[in-house]
Subunit: 367 residues, 2 copies
DNA sequence: TCAATATGGTAAAAGCATTTACCTACATTG
DNA sequence: CAATGTAGGTAAATGCTTTTACCATATTGA
C-alpha cells in the first residue's frame, strides 16, 4: 500500500487545499492565518498518508538540512573517542538533527574529501573532532559554514571545546590532600621535554601545570617526579618498582593516566603493598580499566560525553568564538587510603575541591 | 570570492553550453556523445569553479543519495561497538558513500524516529546494528529499502552479518590442543540455562556448541565446566580460585570472555601459578584488556571491523538474503604454555586450525 | 536529387517543498 | 458610494540536477 512516499501535493489534494496552504499550515508559526477547518483537514491528511517532508527538497529551498557533519581523525582506534560521538549524537537528536559521521585518519586528503562530502549534503554545521593532533589545519570553507573544534583547536576556527585539564590536575592533588596525604606524593609519568606530538604536549602541559600549582597552593611539595615517555603499563610498573625500592617514604602516587596506574598496581602488589590501604593511587582518564582493578582506581575522568554534547550545542547556537573548558569529573573508587582528614590542609583541599565541583555544575548546562 | 557555491548552471554558462550538455558530459558513460572540445570546456569550468553537485538536488531526481543510514542500539556504551562503525565507515567511504549514524538505545520509539529520519534523507539503504538484542523487531519499511542486520537477525529482513561463534569456539579448543594440552581443560563461565537475554543466549549457545564439538572431534573431554551468569572479573576470580583449590589437575582454562580471564589471572597469580607456564588460558573477545595483561592473553577476537565492512558491502550490492558468518580471528599472545606439540592430537588440532584460517581467508573478501 | 542517418547539441519537464506576490469576497469606515 | 481592510486562500517562482524528447546541420547512400 505505501508503495510510494506521500508528497506535500498528495496531502494538499487529500485535504482539498493548495500545496501552498498545506505547507503554510504545517510550517507557519502564526496559526491563525488559515481557518480552523483547513488546519484540521491538512493535519488529518498528513496523519492518514503518513506524510513526512523530503529533507533534500526542503534543504534545496531553505538551506537548512537538519543534518550536521561530524568529522574526526579517529573515532574507534582510540578507546575514548566514542564518548565524543555519543554525546554529540544525543545532543543532535535532542535538537532534531541527524549526524553524518566521517573519519579521516588524520590524512589531509581524506579530510578535504570529507569536508567536501558533507558540504555537498548541505550540512548545517561541522564538528571537527580529534584524538591526536591538537592544532588542526583545515581546508578553507565557505564563510557561512558554522564550525566547532572538538578536543582540538585551530587557527582558523575560533570555537573549541576542550577538557579542563588544569582543573583536573588540581582535583587529583586535592583528592589526595583531602584524604590526609600531604607528603610522600610522587608524580609518575609527567614529561616536560618538548614533544612533537602536539596533542599530548598541550594536554600534558595543562594537566601538569594544574597539579603543580595546586600542590603549591596547598603549601605542599612533591616528593619526586618520575618521568617517562610512553604512558603504558610497563612504564608504570618499572617506574613504580624502582621508586618503591628507592624511597620507602612514598605514600601516594599521582599517575598521569590509568594505564600507568595499572602498572603501578602490579608493582605495589608484588611488594606486598595493598593499594588503598598501604599506598594511595590517583590517576587520569577513567579508562575502562579503572573499574576492573581491585581495588577500584580513583581517577580524574576525561569528560568526552559532555564535550560532545557541548560541541553540538554550540554549533547549533549562535555562540561566540572562544575556548570552552569542560570540567573533568572526579570518579572516586577505592585506591586512596584515608588518613587524617581533619588537618587544616585536608580541610582546605576539600573545600577547593567542592568549590570546583560546584562551579562545574553551574557552568556546564549539559545534564 | 567563493561566496556562493557554484551550480551546474554556472558551469554551463562558463563553458558556453547548456546545463543539459554539462550534466551529460559530467555523468554520461559514453564519452563520445559530445565533441572533445565541449568536454574540455566543461571540465575546465568545473575545475575553475570548484563545482560539486548538490546531493540533495541530485537525490531528488535520481533517488540515490550516496548516503547510508547506520542505526544501532548502542555504539559507545559497549566497548566493542565502535569496531562495527569503523568497518562500516571505511567500506562506505570506499564506495563513495557517507554514513548517517543514529543511536536508539534499543527504545522502539526512538528506533521508529531514527528510521523516519534516515528515510527522510533518502538513504540508499540501512544497516541495523546491535550489541544487545539478537532478534530485532523493526518498523515496517517501504518495500524498496535495502536493509542489512549487523550483529543481529530479524524475522523481517533476511540479510544479516554475524560472527562465526561456532568456528571461534572450535579454534579456542584447537589452540589448546595444538599446544599439547589434551587433558585438564576447564571451561569457565558457560551457562546453559535459558536466558531472557536473547543476544547472549544465541551467541553463547553457538560458542559453547563449537567448543564442545571440537573437544569431541579431537577425541578429548573437558575436565569440568564452571558456569556463572555475569561475565565479570569477580566471577572469573571466584570460579578459578575455587576450581584451583578443588582440582589440582587442571592445566588449562577456557574462559568465555576476556573479563573472566582477567579474574582468572588474579586467582592464578595469588596461588603462585604463572600463566603461560604453569597454566594456560585462552578466552574470547579480544578486549582491550587482553593486551595489557602480563603475559598477554591469547584470545579469539570478535571480528567487528570485518563485520562492519561486510555489512556495507552487502548493503550496496545486490546480495541475496542469508546469514553471513565472519570468521573470528585468533590472536595469539603468551597465555598458553607449550607442551607436547608432536602428539597426534596436537597435529590434528593444528591442521584443523589452519584449515579454518585458510577457509576464512578465501571466504571473506574484506582486507 | 531525395531520403536516411549521424553528429552535436538544447528546451523543458520532473522531482519536492517553500515563499513571494497576488487574488477574491466580504465587511467596515468616512 | 468609494475607499480601505481583512480573512482565507492560491499561482507561480525558486532552489539544483537529471533526463526525455526534440532540433538543426551535414553527410552518406541510392
Amino acid at each position: 500500500m505505501a508503495s510510494k512516499r506521500a508528497t506535500l501535493a498528495d496531502v494538499a489534494r487529500l485535504a482539498g487545499t493548495s500545496p501552498t496552504t498545506a505547507s503554510l499550515i504545517l510550517n507557519g508559526k502564526p496559526d491563525t492565518r488559515f481557518s480552523a477547518d483547513a488546519h484540521r483537514r491538512v493535519h488529518d491528511a498528513v496523519a492518514q498518508l503518513g506524510y513526512r517532508p523530503n529533507m533534500g527538497a526542503r534543504a534545496l529551498r531553505t538551506d537548512r538540512s537538519l543534518t550536521i557533519g561530524f568529522i574526526s581523525d579517529v573515532v574507534a582506534t582510540t578507546r575514548f573517542a566514542s564518548g565524543l560521538i555519543r554525546g554529540a549524537l544525543e545532543e543532535a537528536e535532542k535538537a532534531g538533527h541527524v549526524m553524518l559521521v566521517l573519519e579521516t585518519g588524520g590524512d589531509p586528503a581524506r579530510q578535504d574529501e570529507a569536508v567536501g562530502a558533507v558540504l555537498d549534503r548541505q550540512v548545517d554545521g561541522i564538528v571537527f573532532a580529534t584524538m591526536r593532533a591538537r592544532e588542526l589545519v583545515m581546508p578553507s570553507l565557505p564563510e557561512s559554514t558554522r564550525v566547532v573544534m572538538l578536543n582540538a583547536t585551530s587557527p582558523q576556527f575560533g570555537l573549541s571545546v576542550l577538557p579542563d585539564e588544569e582543573s583536573g590536575g588540581r582535583s587529583a592533588v586535592d583528592l589526595l590532600a583531602a584524604a590526609g596525604h600531604t607528603e610522600g606524593i610522587a608524580l609518575i609519568g609527567q614529561n616536560d621535554e618538548v614533544e612533537d606530538d602536539l596533542f599530548r604536549s598541550a594536554t600534558v602541559a595543562r594537566r601538569v601545570h594544574g597539579l603543580r600549582s595546586e600542590v603549591k597552593a596547598l603549601g605542599l611539595s612533591l616528593l619526586t617526579e618520575e618521568s617517562c615517555w610512553e604512558w603504558e603499563p610497563e612504564n608504570g610498573y618499572r617506574l613504580t618498582a624502582e621508586l618503591l625500592d628507592r624511597r620507602p617514604d612514598v605514600t601516594s602516587l599521582l599517575c598521569m593516566n590509568d594505564r600507568l596506574a595499572f602498572g603501578a598496581y602490579q608493582a605495589c602488589q608484588e611488594r606486598g603493598l595493598t593499594v588503598g590501604r598501604d599506598i594511595s593511587i590517583v590517576s587520569f582518564d577513567n579508562d575502562e580499566l579503572a573499574a576492573y582493578l581491585r581495588p577500584g582506581l580513583t581517577t580524574i575522568g576525561l569528560p568526552h560525553e559532555a564535550m560532545g554534547h557541548q560541541a553540538v550545542q554550540l554549533l547549533l547556537s549562535e555562540a561566540a568564538p572562544g575556548e570552552r573548558l569542560i570540567e573533568m569529573p572526579v570518579v572516586e573508587r577505592s585506591s586512596i587510603s584515608v588518613g587524617d582528614t581533619e588537618s587544616s590542609t585536608a580541610l582546605l583541599a576539600r573545600e577547593r575541591l567542592d568549590a570546583r565541583r560546584k562551579h562545574a555544575r553551574d557552568t556546564i548546562p549539559t545534564p
